[in-house]
């Protein structure tokens, strides 16, 4: 029903937009044409900043490259408009990739200033370069020719822009709602966790810039075609900030919001066309207010309203409930004597400046094992996990996984090789739903395969539907179905822990690293966790678990490794380890070592 209503509204909107020119004079249609160009640019900026989390203050330069390339290729090289347009977009994409390169090394503020600097470099170049016409710019760009359509009429040009815009927006929404967009958003929320789940962060960052540059280039081509004159001041920093204001006011995480922001600000600017400084003060102030009071912008308004209505109607009753975990329906695989080695950590050391967080640690884990890693706080357990999962490069030593030396490989490579992990302080993707969190892990498609979005959109869609069905299976198994559509931060802590485990297992790992999964759980939840981990192992996953809950370690693990001050001080079955004097000393201090050993349930 809702789907049909939306479709109806969309059709109505399309008809209205199609009829719009009939009610406009020649000046208004010109204004509308410029608004659509800004909307295209805003969608591109929204994809990079709002979806990909990459602070891109060079969008106006992408716009400029597209427009200038079209101008230069048509007037200086005498190419036809459309051929020039295709080349111009290609040139912009190359520039986009180059501007995106710094994002591989720096993020946030730093990236902001670098991209802003590069945007300034661009205006500096066009104001000086002879080929770009200097400060006067380039005029007399030829009218784009289309058989049977006179595009010198701004009324007809409107339809061209409208179609390009509609296709661009639809493509953007398609990207956002399928695998690529999900990975971009996951990276935005937590690039570390995204990498640990196999999202190739470097390629994704470049993709964010590539997407922004495609829209920038297309906007530039459209601009060159309608204004038929380019000059440096159209691409200055003031316009960059205007564009930014559009995206922020509209709501950067929603492409439709970005468009709404572009339209709203353009209309405001037009209404105050005789008082440009007043308009500037107005939108600057609105940016500040939006940032402080409504960070989701215009796009967030309906969501907030709906949430408020929902709350009133339901009165907080009928909250989603956690269902029981369902065991994996498989024959347990018993680890035999000659089970193959899955992970070998060979004399690994990790130094932070003077601190030896890990000192010559060696560890061998065989397939099908549940290995416990225990030790006092600060003994290097999480550092060991970080080395194994590729977040840290060891100072010395090697990490072999499935017989392959993977030392120092980036986390996403290890994740793709079959390693998956959870984090001590929960790293769920806050602005994704629970289902999307699981989907990010399930989706193994590479970012370099993103050409499929252009050439084979249907196969992308089919694949996404298949993944969604799989995700629902995972959620059902972990009893999380009722939470599927909720953002993780609205969930109780224990449930969030379970979501993180479900997500890690959904990645289909051979080795699962659990970093203190029982922290903050109550007794019943710990019991369920124990059952869950055993069932996960029985389904063929080897598990290494860091845990402080000794009762859990003793009952769950077959082998326990004890770390203290970055060294392994004991290894063996829980009973053996518990009886080792060094372990008792590490936990209780050496003044206690002459006391009788603490009885554990295993000893009895």
């Amino acid at each position: 029903m809702r789907y049909r209503l939306a479709l109806l509204a969309l059709a109505l909107l399309a008809v209205l937009l199609w009829l719009l020119p009939y009610g406009l004079d020649s000046y208004s249609i010109h204004v509308v044409n410029v608004i659509i160009i800004f909307a295209v640019l805003a969608v591109g900026l929204g994809l990079a900043m709002g979806i990909g989390g990459q602070v891109n203050l060079a969008q106006v330069a992408f716009f400029g490259v597209g427009a200038y390339a079209t101008a230069i290729l048509t007037t200086r090289s005498g190419l036809g408009f459309w051929f020039a347009a295709v080349l111009a977009v290609a040139v912009t994409m190359v520039v986009g990739l180059l501007v995106g390169l710094p994002a591989l090394r720096i993020q946030s503020h730093y990236l902001g200033i670098v991209t802003l600097g590069l945007a300034l470099a661009f205006t500096n170049w066009v104001t000086n370069a002879q080929i770009a016409g200097g400060a006067e710019g380039i005029s007399a760009i030829p009218v784009p020719s289309l058989p049977g359509v006179d595009l010198s009429s701004e009324y007809l040009y409107y339809y061209l822009e409208l179609i390009v815009f509609a296709v661009g927006l639809a493509f953007g929404l398609f990207v956002v709602r399928t695998g690529l967009g999900r990975r971009l958003r996951a990276m935005r929320d937590d690039s570390l966790a995204a990498g640990a789940l196999g999202a190739d962060v470097p390629a994704l960052r470049l993709t964010a810039f590539l997407l922004a540059s495609i829209y920038g280039g297309i906007g530039g081509v459209l601009y060159a075609g309608v204004i038929r004159y380019v000059a440096p001041e159209s691409f200055n920093i003031a316009n960059m900030f205007l564009l930014l204001a559009m995206v922020i006011i509209g709501g950067r995480q929603s492409l439709v919001g970005c468009v709404a922001g572009a339209v709203a600000l353009s209309v405001l600017r037009e209404a105050l066309v005789d008082h440009p400084t007043v308009a500037q003060i107005a939108y600057g102030a609105v940016v500040v207010l939006v940032v402080v009071f409504a960070p989701t912008g215009l796009a967030g308004v309906p969501v907030r309203l709906r949430a408020a209505i929902e709350r009133r109607r339901r009165g907080g009753a009928a909250a989603a409930r956690l269902q029981a975990f369902q065991r994996y329906d498989v024959e347990p695989v018993q680890p035999g004597e000659q089970a193959p080695v899955l992970l070998r950590v060979a004399s690994v050391s990790k130094h932070f400046r003077g601190l030896k967080a890990l000192d010559d640690v060696s560890l061998t884990v065989v397939t099908g094992e549940i290995r416990g890693v225990v030790g006092p706080n600060g003994s290097g357990k999480t550092t060991l996990f970080n080395v194994i999962s590729g977040l840290y490069r060891p100072t010395l030593g090697r990490v072999e996984f499935k017989g392959e030396d993977l030392t120092g490989k980036p986390p996403y490579r290890l994740a793709r090789a079959g390693m998956s992990r959870t984090f001590q302080n929960l790293r769920l993707f806050g602005d994704l739903t629970v289902r999307e969190n699981v989907l990010v892990a399930l989706d193994r498609s590479r970012t370099t395969e993103s050409w499929r979005y252009v050439l084979r959109p249907l196969s992308v869609r089919r694949r996404d539907q298949r993944l969604r069905a799989e995700a629902d299976g995972v959620l059902d198994q972990y009893g999380l179905t009722e939470f599927a559509g909720l953002p993780p931060r609205s969930l109780p802590y224990g449930t969030q822990r379970r979501v993180e485990i479900a997500r890690a297992v959904a990645a289909g790992p051979a080795l699962l690293l659990l970093d203190e999964p029982a922290a903050g759980l109550n007794g019943e939840e710990v019991r369920q966790l124990n059952e869950m981990v055993h069932s996960i192992r029985d389904s063929g996953v080897t598990v290494i678990i860091i845990e402080h809950n000794m009762g859990l370690v003793m009952t769950m693990c077959e082998q326990v490794t004890v770390l203290a001050s970055g060294r392994i001080i004991a290894e063996g079955t829980p009973a053996q380890v518990a009886a080792t004097p060094a372990v008792i000393e590490a936990y209780l201090g050496d003044s206690m070592s002459d006391l009788p050993p603490v009885p554990t349930e295993v000893n009895q």
């Binding site: 989390g53 602070v55 390169l101 710094p102 591989l104 090394r105 720096i106 993020q107 946030s108 503020h109 730093y110 902001g112 200033i113 670098v114 802003l116 600097g117 590069l118 300034l120 470099a121 500096n124 170049w125 104001t127 000086n128 690039s191 570390l192 920093i237 003031a238 900030f241 930014l244 204001a245 922020i248 400084t277 007043v278 500037q280 003060i281 939108y283 600057g284 102030a285 609105v286 940016v287 500040v288 940032v291 402080v292 960070p295 970080n386 977040l391 840290y392």
Partner: protein, 289 residues
């Protein structure tokens, strides 16, 4: 050699200005981890205020400068107060918030002083000194001296006063600072105020060197920021060295690439920052795990 030295001398005074701008950035950054993108616009406001007090109100140059610093300090306080709800929460949003302030300030500047610029005469005799065959403008010496004094005062404030020590504590760990009873918001406000004051000082000093126009702060701000990053963000000696380095690079590119100097400066900066994201003296890593 002679030409090279002359280039260095030409770059140093502008470099000292960049260093002052960089200090403002660094002070705010080390206290609250935020880059104030409105900083450049505050520089412009400072330049206009100082030149207005100096030219129209006929105040002595030094007094005009002090008046400008006081007014911009208040602007700094306002920015901090409005954005305080976001502090230590979402830095990308705060960054955009400061850009919003920058947009507003930019418009206010045009509204009050108009879109055209003005030239500010040098407050000291214009005849350059001759030293070992090098020409040194007297005003350059004034700029260097004032910048040096300002830096020393800032360092003394941070190291020798209780308030300064509190700000250092907030810089290291704002939660721990709160726990020992330091008012983090006030500390941030002071950082913002001093940062804005430094911006006004830079703006006032640069008036006689460059043409004062609404576009002044844009480039000064970005180059000052580049200087701060180059020196290792948040590091005070680094900001000074970074400023001088950018100033000399600027003078060099202006001599060799003329109109394209800005392009070259930003490209060099981008490459340097990619090779060494933490800058020359940087201690903090950019991506914390």
């Amino acid at each position: 050699m002679q030409v090279f030295l002359q280039t260095v001398i030409g770059g140093v005074s502008l470099g000292a200005i960049y260093a002052l701008v960089a200090l403002g950035f660094s002070l705010v950054y080390r206290t609250m981890g935020l880059v104030n993108f409105a900083h450049g616009n505050v520089v412009t406001v400072g330049a206009y205020l100082a030149s207005t007090f100096y030219l129209s109100t006929k105040l002595p140059f030094a007094l005009a400068m002090v008046a400008a610093i006081v007014v911009t300090g208040v602007i700094g306080l306002v920015i901090e107060r409005v954005l305080r709800p976001l502090e230590n929460k979402d830095f990308d949003l705060m960054l955009i918030g400061t850009i919003g302030f920058g947009i507003v300030l930019d418009a206010l500047i045009i509204m009050i002083w108009g879109a055209t610029g003005r030239a500010v005469p040098s407050p000291v005799p214009a005849a350059p000194l001759q030293l070992l065959g090098l020409r040194i403008r007297t005003y350059d010496l004034v700029v260097l001296a004032i910048a040096a004094v300002a830096t020393v005062l800032l360092v003394l404030f941070l190291q020798r006063t209780k308030r300064g020590a509190a700000m250092q504590a907030v810089a290291m760990d704002h939660e721990a600072a709160t726990a020992v009873g330091i008012h983090v918001g006030r500390s941030n406000a002071i950082a913002f105020m001093i940062g804005a004051g430094l911006a006004a000082l830079a703006g006032g000093l640069v008036g006689p060197l460059l043409y004062v126009s609404p576009a002044l702060g844009g480039t000064l701000g970005i180059k000052g920021f580049a200087a701060a990053i180059l020196g290792g963000f948040g590091n005070i000696p680094g900001a000074i060295l970074g400023g001088i380095a950018i100033g000399i690079l600027d003078a060099y590119t202006a001599g060799h690439f003329q109109g394209y100097s800005e392009l070259v400066t930003f490209l060099v900066f981008t490459v340097v920052i990619m090779i060494r994201p933490t800058g020359i003296f940087g201690e903090r890593t950019v991506n914390r795990a």
